[in-house]
């Protein structure tokens, strides 16, 4: 990974130096190993530039605002992030001409939270050794398989291809776990209604309505979200009743259905670790099954299944089986 970081750093500084780009959007080192933040870098200041297994954040959403500011931007996108970028292009949210995209290798990102769930606390530093991670902690060194520390979104990585890029930096074959993508959804589908209800009731009872899932989502770029708009009739700031969370998460995912590229950011950022991606992914799975395979962001010009139709579409009764 270090090699990749070097190459990225080199390109970033070259392009800044030559004036090809004015700003670089990438990741910046934090205080500890895992608290990496997205950041913009300029010619004089590439300090803290980092690319490692903790750079999970999808940078494409930042371009909505950044690309408006003028000047050319270099952005580094992992394969899954490129889909978000493309989707935003198709929604006219990013000025493509202002952005230079370098697609970068990704071997999956790790989640500090998962380490803790595995009983590794007091994390001071993490070092990659082959497929193992050595974690230095306040309470001694621990070891864990890289695979086990993978962020939820990477467990079922959907693509190692770049949907869009101006150049790529890839040194090693990338992983691709797409065959497992719908497993969790299928498990839920196989449950009884009662079990599913209990599952979501428990998960969503944790929701604190912090809106992190919405605010990080590259598909949620509304100028004024319905949930913030008192006129919409569904504005709500609080988890005042268990209904509120269901409404919020069902409608939020519905509003991004067909536009959600399955980047998994919603689940990554949820402070309560609610598997929000399983809601979005259900829409994706349904759309694939009902209307044919579709990957949002794979092409800029594609018509999203929720605005499209065919005369032969299946009936709700057929797929949901609501009629007795």
């Amino acid at each position: 990974m270090q090699k990749i970081e070097e190459l990225m750093y080199k390109r970033a500084s070259e392009m800044l130096e030559s004036g090809e780009v004015d700003r670089v959007i990438a990741w910046k080192k934090g205080e500890t190993c895992y608290d990496v933040s997205p950041a913009t870098f300029t010619k004089d200041n590439l300090e803290g530039f980092v690319y490692d297994a903790f750079c999970g954040a999808n940078l494409s959403k930042y371009l909505v605002e950044e690309s408006k500011k003028g000047g050319k931007i270099l952005v580094f996108l992992k394969p899954c992030d490129t889909y978000s970028f493309n989707q935003l292009l198709s929604e006219h949210r990013i000025k493509r001409e202002n952005v230079y995209v370098i697609g970068i290798e990704c071997q999956g990102k790790i989640d500090a939270n998962k380490l803790q769930k595995k009983g590794i606390d007091g994390i001071l530093s993490v070092e990659e050794k082959g497929d193992k991670l050595t974690v230095k902690t306040l309470y001694g060194d621990k070891e864990i398989a890289f695979e086990e520390a993978l962020s939820v979104k990477c467990e079922t990585c959907k693509s190692k291809e770049f949907a869009v890029s101006d150049e790529t930096i890839v040194l090693n074959e990338m992983r691709d776990n797409r065959e497992k993508r719908f497993e969790a959804v299928e498990r839920l589908e196989k449950m009884t209604e009662e079990e599913r209800y209990a599952f979501w009731q428990a998960e969503l009872s944790k929701c604190i309505r912090c809106n992190a899932c919405r605010n990080v989502c590259p598909a949620c770029t509304c100028t004024h979200c319905v949930f913030d708009n008192d006129k919409s009739g569904i504005a709500g700031k609080a988890n005042a009743d268990s209904f509120e969370e269901k409404l919020f998460h069902i409608i939020r995912s519905y509003h991004v259905a067909g536009r959600c590229t399955d980047c998994g950011e919603c689940s990554r950022v949820c402070p309560q670790n609610i598997p929000l991606h399983l809601i979005n992914r259900k829409y994706i799975k349904d759309m694939n099954e009902f209307y044919g395979e579709y990957q949002a962001g794979a092409a800029v010009t594609a018509l999203n299944p929720i605005v499209d139709f065919t005369k032969e579409d299946v009936e709700a009764a057929t797929v949901v089986g609501g009629k007795k």
């Binding site: 934090g30 205080e31 500890t32 895992y34 608290d35 990496v36 933040s37 997205p38 950041a39 913009t40 954040a57 930042y62 939270n113 769930k117 606390d121 007091g122 994390i123 001071l124 902690t137 306040l138 309470y139 428990a202 998960e203 009872s205 944790k206 604190i208 309505r209 912090c210 809106n211 992190a212 919405r214 605010n215 990080v216 913030d228 709500g236 700031k237 609080a238 988890n239 005042a240 990554r268 950022v269 402070p271 309560q272 670790n273 609610i274």
Partner: protein, 341 residues
């Protein structure tokens, strides 16, 4: 000091719950938050940090203030405040306990918040000393001793026992109620644990930050160019606010029910773009301004109004939970509050 066998903890909870509603860290769907105890609860006293702090017990995320019953063109106003019965909050860490102090100085001064006051007075707090601090902890920066928190009762979890010390009259009363499960102890094991934890505390990566850098000229701090850079990745979500034990902002909203209107308050976040929005617009239209407000409030405005008491207790929840890893530690360090530099 008494001690109770860990194997008897369930009996302890039951015992307390017989008399008082009991709130303590319980695990639901893999996450530990404060919840009301019942026989099915999966209690996790061992977990250091609940996701949300226990401030919910006194200042719930949403709380009905008043109801309006509407019948045709008639409107009846219904006070929903009930006489508060005593309840117990158990497992409160030192930082979170200190946070009650911060909240008190907001809600228990003029104008008095009776909703908060009633609950605060009815609440019996059992604190829990920390046996295994996390790398995100920095309560010591604010002079908090996590090994010996206050409260009506203080507890320590050491070597298969819950050590229990009553600090107040309320605490004594509670102790009597549970004494049948307990045995007397000298508390040496507790002292030993304290020593060990203190060693760890010294090693904490954020233990040396200096919030005092914010005691400097307020206007200079306000206009500092660093805010722009510090806030650039901020998503404007409310995670930091809602996991924070000291954040106290709320919004008042109304919900139309089938027979009238509920007026309720709910936590608000200064990071939200509609925070304190009025007909005239937002007082802080950019995310940088909102970001700055949060930290200036915690480290400058609040202390200035409260005799130097910071409204941060170093619990480290924001360090852990910020989706893009922006947090108060980074802010303090950016302003030079880093001893290592």
């Amino acid at each position: 000091m008494i001690k109770i066998k860990v194997s008897l903890l369930d009996d302890l909870y039951k015992k307390i719950a017989e008399t008082y509603p009991l709130y303590l860290p319980v695990e639901v769907a893999g996450e530990v938050n404060y919840g009301k105890y019942n026989s099915d609860s999966k209690v996790r006293l061992d977990v250091l940090k609940t996701v949300k702090s226990p401030k919910d017990a006194f200042f719930p995320q949403s709380e009905n203030l008043v109801k309006f019953k509407v019948d045709g063109q008639k409107i009846e106003v219904i006070d929903v405040r009930e006489e508060a019965k005593p309840f117990v909050v158990m497992g409160v860490r030192a930082c979170d306990y200190k946070a009650f102090d911060v909240l008190d100085r907001v809600f228990l001064v003029d104008p008095l918040d009776t909703y908060y006051q009633t609950k605060r007075e009815a609440g019996i707090v059992i604190t829990a000393a920390c046996g295994r601090p996390d790398e995100t902890c920095f309560c010591t920066v604010f002079g908090i001793d996590p090994t010996d928190p206050k409260g009506d009762v203080t507890t320590w979890l050491v070597d298969g026992y819950l050590y229990w010390r009553a600090n107040t009259a309320k605490g004594e009363e509670l102790t009597k109620a549970v004494s049948s499960l307990a045995e007397e102890t000298d508390g040496k094991a507790v002292d030993k644990q304290k020593e060990e934890v203190k060693k760890i505390l010294k090693k904490l990566p954020n233990a040396d930050i200096k919030p005092e850098v914010f005691d400097e000229n307020m206007l200079d701090l306000f206009h500092d160019k660093k805010w722009q850079k510090l806030s650039e990745a901020c998503l404007g979500c409310g995670t930091c606010t809602f996991v924070c034990p000291t954040c106290q902002c709320f919004d008042i909203k109304e919900f139309i029910t089938n027979d009238g209107v509920n007026r309720f308050r709910c936590w608000d976040s200064c990071m939200y773009k509609d925070f304190t929005k009025t007909a005239g617009g937002q007082p802080r239209p950019t995310q940088m301004q909102r970001f700055r407000q949060r930290f200036m409030h915690k480290l400058v405005y609040y202390p200035k109004n409260n005799g130097g008491l910071y409204s941060c207790v170093g619990c480290g929840r924001c360090v852990k939970k910020c989706p893009q890893h922006l947090n108060i530690v980074k802010v303090i360090k950016a302003f030079g509050g880093d001893d290592n530099e």
